[in-house]
């Protein structure tokens, strides 16, 4: 298990046990984390699971793929640490990961 912390725009934090191999988006949806919509179901075909990766984790998580960058064009307030959470695979390496949900999804 890897622990992932979701912080909403008001600063509320929630830490969840995530299954390695699943995605950060799936973890959020399974646990009813507000602020993640995942309209397309994880196909990297929308931008409604947008999160900001905590600066301390950016290097480990890595940047978006070109296809993901394309989808991020549809996001709201996209920043250099923006990712689509459906494209972040949970692994033991990411145990302790912190992500922030944006004020609104696309």
């Amino acid at each position: 298990m890897a622990k992932i912390t979701f912080i909403d725009p008001t600063g509320n934090a929630r830490t969840i046990d995530a299954e390695p191999g699943s995605t950060v988006m799936e973890t959020a949806i399974k646990n009813d984390v507000p602020g993640i919509e995942a309209e397309c179901g994880g196909a990297c075909a929308c931008a409604t699971c947008h999160v900001y990766v905590d600066e301390a984790w950016r290097e480990k998580v890595g940047g978006p793929t070109p296809m993901e960058e394309d989808m991020l064009d549809f996001g709201y307030d996209v920043k250099p640490n923006s990712r689509l959470s459906c494209q972040i695979k949970v692994s033991d390496e990411l145990d302790g990961l912190v992500v922030r949900t944006p004020e609104r999804q696309a």
């Binding site: 309209e39 196909a43 929308c46 394309d70 064009d73 996001g75 307030d77 996209v78 696309a106």
Partner: protein
């Protein structure tokens, strides 16, 4: 208005389930026309995730979404389905028992015995971008499509986006706008490289502006836009003066006109009889993701099953005099003849 097109069945939606309906109906000698709002067949499979593999189609361990659509098109070829793409069904009017007159936004009229709604998650429509307060300007200063180019003559236009629509309209409207700015989040584009090249040429000639950034808010009053507030990539904030904005943020699925067809709905889904997949309106069927019933699963394979049962009931409407004998494609020479394999 053109002359009405006559057909046994009009299928609304050319996704995988709508396509397979052509096959099952065809085996029972029922002809179909299909209408879809997209410019291609395949629905979500083709529009949202063409490259993604699907693993739960029976007997096909793995197939890409587009591969499935291509295979369905091959499978239904013998039945000569006719497609009406880029059209949205606007109204369904009952003309008989059964009998319907169906009208599209493109002015096409169909006279059919039955209607099969295979509309999935609804119709694909331009997505409203996540800009606070944008609703107040829609239809007046903010437009999601260009119907008549002349309406944009002399306007101070802001186009937002980096895909083909954004670039195409930048190139097309640049000559008639009083001023045009293209705003995009980054200097890489989803649009065709050739369009990007042409756009950059216009920028270099000083004919249009290209700005990198994201809209954070809009300024104006009474539906009249005066400027967009923009955050640049260096976190600076500035205004772009404009009286017209065209944001291109992709497509989303909306229920759309389905809600106006007089059908009973449950949370934007159409309840159906599970033995026939008929709706509350006799002669109108609903199959695939758009319908609901106890135990419903939004799976392509469920949609295929629904198609087979729907077709049985459709046969009773289209050929009330004929007795329907259940047959297998494996052994029936008459079915094989229809498939062109005997």
């Amino acid at each position: 208005m053109s002359d009405p097109i006559k057909t046994d069945v009009l299928i609304i939606g050319a996704g995988p389930v709508g396509l397979f309906a052509v096959f099952e109906l065809g085996l029972l000698d029922i002809k179909a026309h299909l209408v879809d709002i997209l410019d291609k067949v395949g629905g979500q499979c083709a529009e949202l995730y063409p490259e993604k593999p699907i693993y739960d189609i029976p007997a096909i361990p793995k197939i890409s979404a587009q591969g499935l659509v291509d295979a369905l098109m091959e499978q239904i070829k013998p039945f000569g389905p006719q497609f009406h793409l880029n059209e949205m069904v606007e109204s369904i009017e009952r003309t008989g028992e059964p009998g319907f007159r169906v009208t599209t936004d493109g002015g096409k009229v169909f006279e059919c015995k039955l209607v099969v709604i295979a509309a999935g998650g609804g119709s694909f429509q331009p997505k409203r971008p996540p800009m606070p307060g944008i609703e107040a300007y829609e239809g007046t200063s903010v437009h999601y499509a260009v119907r008549k180019m002349d309406a944009f003559r002399g306007k101070k236009i802001l186009i937002v986006g980096g895909g083909d629509s954004a670039l195409d309209w930048t190139l097309n409207l640049a000559p008639i706008a009083s001023h045009l700015t293209l705003l995009h989040r980054r200097n890489e584009f989803r649009a065709a490289p050739d369009s990007v090249k042409k756009m950059m040429a216009l920028v270099n000639e000083g004919k249009i502006d290209f700005v990198q950034g994201q809209v954070t808010g809009l300024e104006g009053a009474n539906g009249q836009l005066t400027a967009a507030n923009v955050k640049g990539n260096d976190s600076s904030t500035f205004h772009i003066a404009c009286d017209t904005m065209l944001p291109f943020f992709g497509l989303t699925m909306k229920l759309g006109p389905v809600a106006n067809w007089g059908l009973r709905l449950e949370e934007d889904l159409i309840p159906v009889d599970v033995s026939t997949f008929e709706t509350s309106e006799p002669g109108i069927f609903a199959i695939g993701d758009i319908n609901t019933y106890p135990g419903k699963l939004k799976l392509i394979l469920s949609g295929f099953h629904e198609v087979a049962l729907m077709s049985q009931k459709a046969h009773r409407y289209v050929y009330p005099e004929k007795k329907l004998t259940f047959q297998y494609t494996t052994s029936s020479s008459s079915l094989q003849k229809k498939l062109g394999v005997s």
